[in-house]
């Protein structure tokens, strides 16, 4: 009896197969760029140590394997990746996989929360704006979204801290949890949630503006389609038409964009993580880049590629749920 794989798994499998060469190409390109940048981890490590003799720097370089030709380093690295060995961090000495995975949950939490928040709020505000098309509310929201969109993250983040944390004393200004806090499981969840609010909301602000504008125009387009008139003709209320009939259809481009922006959000989180002292990947990227910690950078790249793939598969799933036509395409 032939074993048959469900179509969705086949589809996922194909997606992953398609993405592997892309990831390898990105990895190779990054490796090349990193090798072209002047200076290496041995220089930085010795300098951070207050300086070192030529022999010591060379010994360090050899012990890190940085004295080998670039191409050899690359293939030995990729060989490791295939066996799930991402090597050791040059600067931190930990296995890269441990180092990166210790940061992944925080980044995922921040990214997923803020994107979800942004998508949700953006959608609701977009619907609201589209149903009041041309009204004062619509125009005010347009202006606010433009402001949010063009406000530097950095400034916004600091203002949030100053207002909610310093001025009102409502929320903690940074970190992921109360240090030394002794909590029950639920207490810990609540504690992390409280710490998550400011960074997630700050990060969401920018995306809210994007999604709101997209949702609004998508809604306006859908609201003019025949099936909306048809729904109205059978007596559906305006609320139901906007939030159910039109929104469900207008959502697709927004969700698709959110999927595309996962990578963007990963990049944007560097700043937010820096200001809020959030222990995520973003900060590690920045530090590793300055330290020329190639192994760590490559590890982050590989892990985040996997993350992006997983997330975009989830987005595909969501799109499939939103629009039944997609599954059959």
């Amino acid at each position: 009896m032939a074993f048959s794989i469900p179509p969705f798994l086949q589809f996922m499998f194909r997606r992953v197969l398609q993405i592997i060469p892309v990831v390898i190409a990105i990895a190779a390109l990054n490796f090349l760029l990193l090798s072209l940048a002047p200076g290496d981890a041995a220089d930085v490590i010795s300098a951070n140590n207050g300086g070192a003799s030529a022999e010591e720097v060379q010994a360090l370089r050899e012990s890190l394997g940085l004295d080998r030709p670039m191409i050899v380093q690359f293939f030995s690295y990729m060989g490791g990746v295939l066996t799930l060995d991402l090597g050791q961090s040059y600067v931190r000495g930990m296995p890269v996989l441990d180092l990166v995975m210790s940061r992944v949950p925080a980044t995922l939490l921040l990214m997923v929360t803020s994107l979800a928040l942004a998508v949700l709020a953006g959608i609701l505000l977009g619907i609201l704006s589209s149903t009041r098309y041309g009204s004062l509310l619509d125009r005010v929201m347009s202006i606010i979204s433009l402001l949010l969109y063009s406000t530097p993250h950095f400034w916004l983040a600091l203002m949030m801290i100053v207002f909610f944390s310093v001025h009102l004393g409502l929320l903690p200004s940074g970190n992921i949890a109360t240090i030394g806090g002794d909590f029950s499981f639920l207490g810990r969840v609540w504690d992390v949630f409280v710490h998550l609010i400011l960074p997630a909301v700050t990060m969401a602000m920018f995306y809210i503006a994007v999604y709101m504008r997209l949702m609004r125009s998508s809604m306006l387009e859908v609201l003019d389609l025949d099936y909306i008139t048809a729904a109205r003709a059978r007596g559906a209320s305006e609320k139901k038409i906007a939030y159910s009939h039109a929104a469900r259809n207008a959502l697709l481009p927004v969700v698709t964009l959110a999927g595309v922006q996962i990578g963007h959000a990963l990049g944007g989180s560097v700043l937010i993580e820096t200001v809020f002292g959030w222990p995520g990947l973003g900060r590690l990227v920045y530090e590793s880049l300055l330290e020329r910690d190639t192994n760590t950078l490559m590890g982050i790249l590989v892990v985040s590629s996997v993350l992006v793939i997983v997330v975009s598969l989830c987005i595909d799933l969501v799109c499939g749920l939103l629009d039944p036509r997609i599954v059959h395409k």
């Binding site: 970190n175 030394g180 900060r283």
Partner: protein, 535 residues
């Protein structure tokens, strides 16, 4: 100026151990948590891997050196070693260890730990191991509480080698479980990630990228200490957010330049905060322009002096360094015990500079232009960029075009120390408290090596200077060494192989409720046993 008198090691011989009662007095309040932030989180918790500031800040509370140090001059005082004797000829050091000291895991601390750790980890792998222990021919342990170091020749600064950042005492019973022949294995081991030391604070947890918690060692050998219950290093990578957290009382301390320069003036006006430049005299931070002595015309001392004459150090301090710092007079900072008090202040005189350049044979052309050099800037923040701008502007006034090239830190290191692709560059360096350790390597001919970092990149070579540094290293008495280094300083000012700019003490800010932070020349690396926090 502070007195630079150095207390000879012999003078400490008779010092008696601090009693428990005294220790109690040292803690007006007990308990509490001191939370601090620095610019980044450490890459390890032992200086065995790196002596980077981040690491030294944490490691110094967990691991201790064989002796302790007091005052800005870093006078050795009893610590893990209760007392010590130094032979007449200065080649045999006998340490008498304190009885009853325990590692954080309960094992006793003995002479075997001292010998094993220095021989198998510190000397071969610690970045400062060879400076202090390279000359040691044997380490003997006649009994568990006695360690005898025998040196091939006298090393006058040997007692400085036991600082917690330079030679942390490491547990033999853990080292034995590791492959000590493999440097990587050792520096990546639990020694650097879950340290077991003898210090007043024990490692508790490290949430990577978020915080590190140390907690009091209840069995610390100084009964009643430490005063604090916990020390937390919280990661706040952004400078503005760090300032806010300090102001807001969420953290208690921003040590060693981790405060934004633009915040300092405001914090100085606040009663709730203490702003201080004390406590890092043992490091002796100084900035200068490294000059590539290989290249015409910078190989000409007259040209280097002309550059020095073109720069107004008070302007640099007041306009760029927010008023902090002291105009440098030579390679050593004025708080260094070996500083030559007779050195004059370095002049600022553009006309003299121009005249000197004419004399050196670099006349100005019709446009007032003499020659072009490449200038790099230490990639360490805004100030060094502004300094480069200032240097470019001033040199322009005397006809030298100093083109600015920028890069990130790794790129800068490569350009300056490997490719020598620079004419001048700002740099920041520490004297440490002995010229043999911190200064000689920047000017000695033997330190001209491609790829060496923070050594003699400029390829300055003067046999007289080499000779004096060599003699100064082995001269048996403090007085003899001082005389030698006084002479070196005069030559190094006269030749101006680099252009000395500013002594820059590190600024630290802390909550006024915190007391006892300033203990010696590397206070923030010290163990903070007596630091306490008012309720």
């Amino acid at each position: 100026m502070k007195s630079a008198r150095y207390l000879g090691a012999a003078a400490t011989l008779a010092l008696i151990a601090t009693t428990a009662a005294q220790a109690q007095d040292a803690c007006p309040t007990k308990g509490g948590t001191l939370t601090f932030s620095y610019t980044a989180e450490p890459v390890a918790l032992s200086t065995l891997r790196t002596t980077a500031v981040t690491v030294s800040l944490m490691a110094g509370k967990i691991y201790e050196g064989l002796v302790s140090y007091e005052g800005p001059e870093m006078t050795p005082v009893p610590g893990l070693a209760e007392s010590w004797d130094i032979s007449e000829d200065g080649t045999v050091y006998t340490f008498h260890l304190r009885d009853g000291v325990k590692w954080h895991d309960g094992e006793p601390f003995t002479s075997a730990d001292v010998k094993f750790g220095i021989e198998n980890a510190i000397r071969p792998y610690h970045s400062r191991g060879k400076i202090f222990f390279g000359n040691v021919t044997s380490i003997e342990t006649p009994d568990p509480l006695t360690v005898i170091f025998t040196l091939a020749s006298p090393v006058e600064y040997f007692m400085q080698g036991f600082q917690m950042t330079s030679a942390p005492m490491l547990p033999k019973h853990i080292l034995e479980t590791l492959d000590v022949s493999d440097r990587q294995a050792l520096i990546n081991s639990s020694l650097t990630s879950e340290p077991i030391g003898t210090g007043p604070f024990k490692f508790k947890e490290w949430v990577h990228g978020d915080h590190i918690t140390l907690t009091r060692n209840p069995d610390y050998w100084q009964a009643g200490l430490p005063c604090l219950d916990n020390i937390v290093m919280r990661s706040i990578p952004d400078g503005v957010a760090r300032g806010i957290a300090l102001e807001n009382g969420e953290i208690d301390l921003l040590p060693m330049n981790s405060v934004l320069d633009s915040d300092i003036a405001r914090f100085e006006d606040m009663d709730s905060l203490e702003v201080s430049m004390r406590g890092d005299e043992g490091l002796g931070g100084i900035i200068w322009l490294d000059v590539n002595n290989r290249e015409e015309p910078l190989s000409d001392p007259m040209v280097r002096k002309a550059i020095s004459l073109s720069l107004d150090r008070e302007t640099i301090r007041d306009v760029i360094w927010y008023g902090y710092g002291v105009p440098a007079r030579g390679p050593l900072v004025s708080t260094n015990p070996f500083f030559n008090e007779k050195l004059p202040e370095l002049e600022f005189d553009l006309e003299k500079a121009a005249a000197l350049l004419d004399e050196a044979g670099y006349p100005a052309d019709a446009n007032g232009h003499r020659f072009t050099i490449t200038q790099r800037a230490l990639p360490n923040g805004e100030k060094f960029i502004r300094l480069a701008e200032y240097v470019r502007q001033q040199l322009g006034k005397v006809g030298i075009e100093a083109k600015i090239e920028t890069s990130d830190y790794a790129g800068w290191l490569k350009s300056v120390f490997t490719d020598y692709n620079y004419g001048i560059t700002s740099t920041s360096t520490d004297n440490r408290n002995d010229p043999t350790i911190g200064t000689g390597r920047r000017f000695h001919t033997k330190n001209i090596k491609v790829g060496a970092t923070f050594e003699n990149a400029g390829a300055y070579s003067n046999p007289e200077v080499d000779r004096l540094f060599d003699e100064g290293a082995v001269a048996p008495t403090r007085e003899a060494r001082k005389a030698i280094f006084d002479e070196v300083q005069e030559i190094l000012v006269d030749d101006m192989p680099v252009v000395y700019l500013l002594e820059i003490p590190r600024v630290s800010v802390w909550n006024a409720k915190v007391h006892g932070l300033i203990t010696n020349g590397i206070s923030f690396y010290d163990n903070w046993a007596k630091v306490y926090k008012e309720e």
